[in-house]
């Protein structure tokens, strides 16, 4: 069984990454690293235009069976975000929602963000949130408690503050951690395993911004047991997506 990647992006980057066909890039990388399914959010939606970006994801899902989609929503456009949720979460291939507080310029814990998360929780069971600092985990505590049936993935596991993220996960079974990050700080994965166990850790690559080899290397370095590796690389994601492990 192949891997399930819960953190991928559809779009272009202002960096020297070859290839101008985002779907082609994702399919090629998935094949190279044995990824069966990759859940993408739109870089265009995150960086510039939510509606246009989500539309691109919907089109991409028709091109390949490898991809699934997150609907991207933005707290600065609450009504429009609700419209996006209603449009796409009923379509095949969309499995959850993505929020990026930094690009939206709206921190977790802000009233606008909480209102948006409330709307998300009423429509889906899977939310992936960009997190890059301890404060993100602290702020998400209230959301996790307010919505126990909403599974929240902390993308990047708060980067160098991943121990704080792992503490949140240890106390909230609806919180999962995902570790893709240029900051491949040795020991992050092992510390999280000790705190929250492998059941609340999922694999995400951040492709095609990052090469999956990078984050896979972090898990290689952590010396996972076979059981933990299977859970992290596939089983936990399958559970969250409601598909066979």
């Amino acid at each position: 069984m192949g891997l399930i990647d819960l953190h991928a992006h559809l779009g272009c980057w202002p960096f020297p990454i070859p290839g101008r066909d985002p779907v082609g890039n994702l399919v090629r990388l998935s094949r190279k690293y044995g990824i069966d399914l990759a859940v993408v959010s739109s870089a265009l939606a995150i960086c510039y235009d939510m509606v246009e970006g989500n539309r691109e994801v919907a089109e991409a899902l028709k091109r390949t069976h490898v991809l699934r989609g997150y609907v991207y929503v933005n707290p600065n456009y609450l009504a429009e975000s609700c419209g996006e949720l209603d449009t796409y979460l009923t379509q095949p291939g969309f499995v959850g929602v993505k929020i990026h507080p930094a690009y939206a310029g709206c921190p977790l814990g802000a009233a606008e963000m909480s209102r948006l998360i409330d709307e998300v929780a009423g429509r889906t069971t899977l939310l992936k949130v960009h997190t890059y600092a301890a404060g993100d985990a602290h702020a998400l505590r209230a959301d996790a408690e307010r919505h126990p049936s909403l599974n929240i993935i902390l993308a990047h596991a708060c980067a160098s503050a991943s121990a704080v993220a792992a503490e949140l996960a240890a106390n909230h079974p609806n919180v999962c951690l995902e570790f893709c990050c240029s900051l491949a700080e040795r020991g992050r994965v092992e510390a999280a395993l000790r705190l929250c166990g492998s059941r609340q850790i999922v694999f995400g690559s951040d492709m095609d911004l990052l090469d999956p080899a990078w984050t896979l290397g972090m898990f290689d370095g952590a010396g996972l047991s076979e059981e933990d590796r299977e859970a992290i690389m596939r089983g936990n994601a399958a559970r969250l997506l409601g598909i066979g492990g």
Partner: protein, 246 residues
């Protein structure tokens, strides 16, 4: 992978966060991955005092031949800095590494430039951080005229464009791989003239060795390119080997 040389390692304490960056941990990583040789330095020299840090570095390298000593100097100290250049060259250090980002001093700083000139006179190379946009450009203006070989650490996607441009402009500039995490990063660098000036670096034990290693192993390179990045380029940076590409 045998014969792998690692340009970027260190050992010591982690003051800002609980972490094991000890010498035994570094040695265990080096042994596990059959690294043939790792350039290293004691973090004491970065965080506290370069004189005692350099002593610690040299002692570790004498005890463990797989390690090659890199000296460091904090230009803020001023006193003894120039003498340290000569002393370290005589003692067998293979390069000088600087931490302007951590120690908060500008590259275009007279105390540093005076040290850089002294290093150029003894013929050793310099190692600098290269992740911040503008850092390589500035080093080009300041250090290339001195003829210094410079290895930039930590170039990632945000600064890859600057590295690719520098490869065309500055023939004595090299780049380590420890933050090169984008698809085809190494292939792009090789196509851009980096096949003789990209060197493997892990930044172990601070970072996962396996992330940088996986990128090298997954890269679609010729056997010559892979061999060069794995070791030959670092030897040439150190002045130990001539180019096989000319």
């Amino acid at each position: 992978m045998t014969g792998l040389l690692d340009a970027t390692t260190s050992f010591g304490s982690s003051p800002a966060k609980r972490a094991d960056w000890s010498l035994p941990t570094l040695l265990a990583i080096v042994e596990k991955h059959r690294v043939e040789r790792a350039l290293t330095l004691s973090l004491r020299g970065k965080y506290y005092d370069f004189a005692s840090g350099n002593i610690e570095t040299m002692a570790a390298c004498r005890d463990h031949p797989v390690l090659s000593p890199v000296a460091t100097i904090d230009p803020r100290r001023y006193l003894d800095c120039l003498e340290t250049v000569a002393r370290c060259a005589e003692a067998g250090f293979v390069a000088f590494r600087f931490f302007p980002d951590h120690q908060v001093w500008p590259l275009e700083w007279l105390p540093f430039l005076e040290i850089a000139e002294a290093i150029a006179r003894v013929g050793l190379p310099v190692i600098l951080p290269g992740g911040a946009p503008g850092s390589i450009t500035l080093a080009g203006r300041l250090l290339a005229p001195l003829g210094l070989r410079v290895l930039f650490l930590g170039v990632g996607y945000a600064n890859m464009a600057e590295a690719l441009t520098a490869l065309k402009v500055y023939p004595t500039f090299y780049f380590d791989t420890h933050l090169m995490d984008t698809p085809e990063a190494l292939e792009v660098l090789c196509r851009g003239g980096g096949e003789e000036r990209v060197v493997f670096g892990s930044n172990a034990p601070e970072r996962y060795f396996e992330s940088a290693l996986n990128m090298l192993q997954a890269a679609e390179l010729s056997a010559d390119q892979r061999q060069a990045i794995s070791g030959g380029n670092l030897r040439r940076f150190l002045g130990e080997e001539r180019s096989v590409w000319v």
